[in-house]
Assembly symmetry: C2
Homo-oligomer: 408 residues x 2
Amino acid sequence: MTPALDGAHLLARLDALAEIGAIEGGGCARLALSDADRAGRDLVVGWMREAGLAIEIDAIGNVVGTRAGREDLPAAMTGSHIDTVRTGGRYDGNYGVLAGLEVVRALDRAGIRTRRPVAVAFFTNEEGARFQPDMMGSLVFAGGLSLDDAFAATDRDGLSVGAELARIGYRGRAAPGARKPHAFIELHIEQGPILDEERLRIGAVESVQGISWTEYTVLGTSNHAGTTPLRLRRDAGLVAAEAAAFVRRLAREMGGDQVGTVGRLELHPNLINVVANRAVFCVDLRNTDEAKLRHAEAEVSAFIARTAAAERCDVTARTLARFEPVIFDPALVARVEATALARGHRPRRMPSGAGHDAQMMQRVCPSAMIFVPSVAGLSHNVKEHTEAADLVAGAEILLDLMLELAEI
Amino acid sequence: MTPALDGAHLLARLDALAEIGAIEGGGCARLALSDADRAGRDLVVGWMREAGLAIEIDAIGNVVGTRAGREDLPAAMTGSHIDTVRTGGRYDGNYGVLAGLEVVRALDRAGIRTRRPVAVAFFTNEEGARFQPDMMGSLVFAGGLSLDDAFAATDRDGLSVGAELARIGYRGRAAPGARKPHAFIELHIEQGPILDEERLRIGAVESVQGISWTEYTVLGTSNHAGTTPLRLRRDAGLVAAEAAAFVRRLAREMGGDQVGTVGRLELHPNLINVVANRAVFCVDLRNTDEAKLRHAEAEVSAFIARTAAAERCDVTARTLARFEPVIFDPALVARVEATALARGHRPRRMPSGAGHDAQMMQRVCPSAMIFVPSVAGLSHNVKEHTEAADLVAGAEILLDLMLELAEI
């Protein structure tokens, strides 16, 4: 019997999980290790038990539910995360985890026992909205962050990851990453507009953009906006504005998938008639090519140094985050593409502009991702939406892929 | 006997007044119509009584102390204000009022009875830090704002000017502006760096720059900074940054005394990895020439419309303040200059970049201003400073001028 995915059940469970931490407008707020996160975890773990999965919780709170295979081999794993940002949508993360459970249910209904175990995981604190760094659970799983460092991370109120994990009952006994999977596939909404704009249903994600976040602080002199001649000004706000405009100009000139954004910018004292003596702003640069990303970083840094010097301002820079681009396993990406083609889709090879647990898992085992469209590219937003037909189509590709990976 | 100004007494009184509402760093916080403002008013009114002045308080709380002349003619008036911004210095406003009282004391000591009365005034709420508009007392005095409108202005807590005036006991009976002075001279610190930079002691102020404050709100779309291609963005923050850079470029190209500043700029949601969907920023443009100021306004407005359209953003503009340039009485400005020359100074003709009560008084009678240097141009700042020798020099020019004006 060919296994068939129960799309209606997937949609119903997405709705049920979205009830927990529901916020106005249809979104969710389940910050990592909060009471709402615990309630969400409890619900999903209950569904894992219901499906007969063997559940393992590791010390950083990653949860892996495993369906035994015919042989005791490394598992074909899928999964994502169920924590959200403060004003999150209902699909981001949740979709990949619950689709994984539907894969298990489909195998059960079809009476299929795969050669390898099939595992469904959800990783702790992917969003990084409450504790930094983001992708924390998968990063610890991949050995990129020590447990001690992860435990020590604190939120705004000084509460630590270690204490909060214990409080909500998800500081498990297993050593993170002790069992390496055979392969890892993450199904996720795109969180960007490309598939939606091009009216395509399936993305075969071949890479994750490298990310460079730098915070610049420019110091000038606070002066009266009416009485201070231009030549005597040291306007920190002007340097920030010139920099923000340059970031866009540079990204446009570089072309390809280079993007650049200044989304955060603050002036002090921020008064209409006072020249700003301090400007703090963050430059977000991304590229799938590490050399190009470095070039962009150098250009921005040189421009800001030049512009600040011309305005006689001082400037300091602080790296807030820096991830090199990740290239997913080419054979696995080709498999995603082939599976989608076999289902009659026109898959689009594409990079991911956002970070995902799969990029950490690529350090451990061959990994890849499947994207489905986000309407208007909206994400991290209560208006985040993906059409039901797209959600089901993505889950069907996942089912086919997992079945294939569990047999090889 | 030639009247002589008592510089030490002036400095001691500046210190004594600065005790009221004193804040860390040597500054003052006496927001208009606050308890601190009342205490400051009571102290200065006490000094007026001590000097034997006839005191008149008008309905908007302006206080005029008059020393009788030989004839019952319109008075030669001087004065300024004693309210401060939240983190004000000790000279701004206070200096002109207390120097006026020293003029009276010098006349008394010399036994001089002038032909015209000599009046010393302080006007209510010049700063506009708590209630808008600024220069409120002198604007009402000059008939530019009705008493009802002034009374109705409220602070952040909803307290009104009318109620607060009554509460502190300064809602007087006199009709504002009922008695027009013969001439008005305001002595003030420059609040800008020009005299200090050029090592000059006396400014003969011939005009006040016109002021144009416009708040722009740009609306775009909030999107993921990693996943959204440049061509699909509607980045409100980018439009704001381009506008801020343009304002400086335009002012530089126009030259003369055109200045332009974006000192206030806020992004929403102001997150490092989210394209801003809203930017609010204020453009401060000033020029002594109304036609040039209009040209600058039109250029900025057109640039912002063009830039927003290119980014497919919506933009709205709101005028927050608009004052035409004020030209002081040329004969009186010439007199300021001549008086300074006679005292051995090299007076500098200059515009005022900041607003002052004298610009309202120019609507009522011939008016002009004397400036003394502000060290490093600092003002509205606890570090505001003017050297004692400069304070005394300015007060001496005021004395000579008032004596002259009171005789003609």
